[in-house]
């Protein structure tokens, strides 16, 4: 299991289109990916879960991956989140 912290900088946060795009991106990896926002945990492959995180601009998130490609997954997903534009 590998984890990494990342801060949301985009305006929308993990919401609307950025959230759906992230969920689609996460599905590329074999590992189970969890996103943690304080007390709340979300299965990153679930749009329903991700939306209920209510992660806004400026929120620090922890990405946890568990599986064959966990190291790559955490790096790429953290980068993906940090680079969100919208």
């Amino acid at each position: 299991m590998v984890s990494k912290k990342v801060t949301l900088t985009n305006k929308t946060g993990l919401h609307a289109r950025p959230a759906s795009n992230l969920v689609a991106f996460v599905k590329k990896f074999q590992s189970t990916v969890t996103i943690i926002n304080g007390e709340k945990k979300a299965n990153a492959a679930s749009i329903i879960n991700v939306l209920t995180l209510g992660a806004k601009q400026g929120t620090e998130l922890e990405i946890v991956a568990d599986g064959a490609d966990e190291a790559v997954a955490v790096e790429e997903i953290a980068k993906y989140i940090a680079d969100l534009k919208e």
Partner: protein, 566 residues
Amino acid sequence: MKTISVTKAASKGIVMGKAFLVVQQNLEADKKLIRDSEKDIEVKKFEKAVKDTVSDLQVLAKDNDIFAAHMDVASDPDLHDSVVSKINDELKNAQLSLEEYIVATVEMFENLDDEYLRERAADMKDVGKRIMCHLKGIRSNPFEGINEETIVIAEDLAPSDTANMDFKFVRGFITEGGGVTSHVAIMARNREIPAIVGVAGFRGEVTNNDYIILDALGAKIIINPDEKTKQEYLKKAEEYKEMKAKLESMNGLPATTVDGRTVELFANIGNIPDAENAVAKGAEGVGLFRSEFLYMENTKFPTEEEQFTVYKAAVETLKKPVIIRTLDIGGDKELSYYKFDVEENPFLGWRAIRISLDLKDVFKTQLRALLRASAYGDIRIMYPMIISVEEFLAANEVLEECKQELRRDSVPFNNSIQTGVMIETPASVMCSDDLAKEVDFFSIGTNDLTQYLLAVDRGNQKIAKMYNSFHPAVLRAINKVIESGHKYGKIVGMCGEFASDEKALPVLLGMGLDEFSMTATEIASTRYNVRNLSYRECQKLASEVCIKGTISEVMELINNFIDKSK
């Protein structure tokens, strides 16, 4: 060939098509606890239902992006894992597990105060329904399969049903329930779809694919007509269309009698598409905006912002006066998200202004939205179900509170916004003199007024014949209200179905009614009729009618008058 004569044409016109009988759906979960040995079967059932739902959505997604989003929800791992664990760990059957998950998720989304997530709540519900339909083995859209000219036949129809109908093919409605004032009737008129309602036992008369002629002009339904009859009706339908076009060509002209009395023709609306239609049909304002639709079609009390947006859009669409009736629920109108106590006499119970004055926060939210929208056009506020001067003053006091709050926050609004009373209770008729001193306007709601004056439940089929607004008691009440209003220089309008009744028109005109508010589609023919009537003759008719003691004498006078003026 079989002909059925009916009494209630709810929306005019002649149309024909294949019969389509709507099968009513029950989407509630069949709640069951299961045995350990049944777990696998339930999980399989659920997974199959999800798979079928996704493939349905795949087809739909080709034409509409929203269904692509629904596909994501349907195949969401959280949905899958949560439902499966409810089945395995809590031993609940698939239907119950699904229902619990959807309810909980929808609630979670709705509680986050966020427009985007509220829409996702609606998506969740929709997807939940689709999966549930597969679990229960029923069609997800009761109107699926309509692909040629069709007459929809149902026990009753709800406003939301129209969202599922393909109006390329749906030509008309026939329902067993409902009266001319029911939701299905109002919806049909707004959409200009001919409809006949209250045909008890009709579904026993037809089978799917019978050929139906729906004649809402002659109040007749013909099942499987012969070729000659069919041709005859095709011709009639064509003639009706031409006449309607002719009437609508008069839209720009004022509703002025031959001897120069001008009245105002307003529209009754329930939403923004109605407002657009009102403009298209030549309405000179809105006499009744039924704000309760905003509440009834919502999943929670609409916020000030939501309401403000709609009221503002309405008045900006019309660019003319818009009378908005404050929340009128209770009686037969309920909210999915608010629990009403069961009452022995709901129509004499906690409804309309009584609720508003009790739930002050809800009332203030609406009044603030109305006030804010009044900065953008001529919005007028109408309180429903008033029985006393005190109630009217109490409502205005809450309004004054809202004004002060807005003033303090420097939010613009029309300080001299007009407030009026909907006259629909016998008490308000008897006290109309006293009320007239206080209000800016009256609007007579004949639907409820008739029901209360005659003590006849307008939804009760057994006594439907007794529900008649030409009853001398109703006519005299209307006359009294107009007199009281005019004594104090106040405008008196009418927003019930009676306002567009061709036979009532000369009487109401003669009594001096100033404003007639009706379904937008009735405006053109009313304008045509007003322009062919003489105010003086109508005044004479009205004074004669008011001293007649029976409905038959009243009708005889009116029929003679109409025959003579043709």
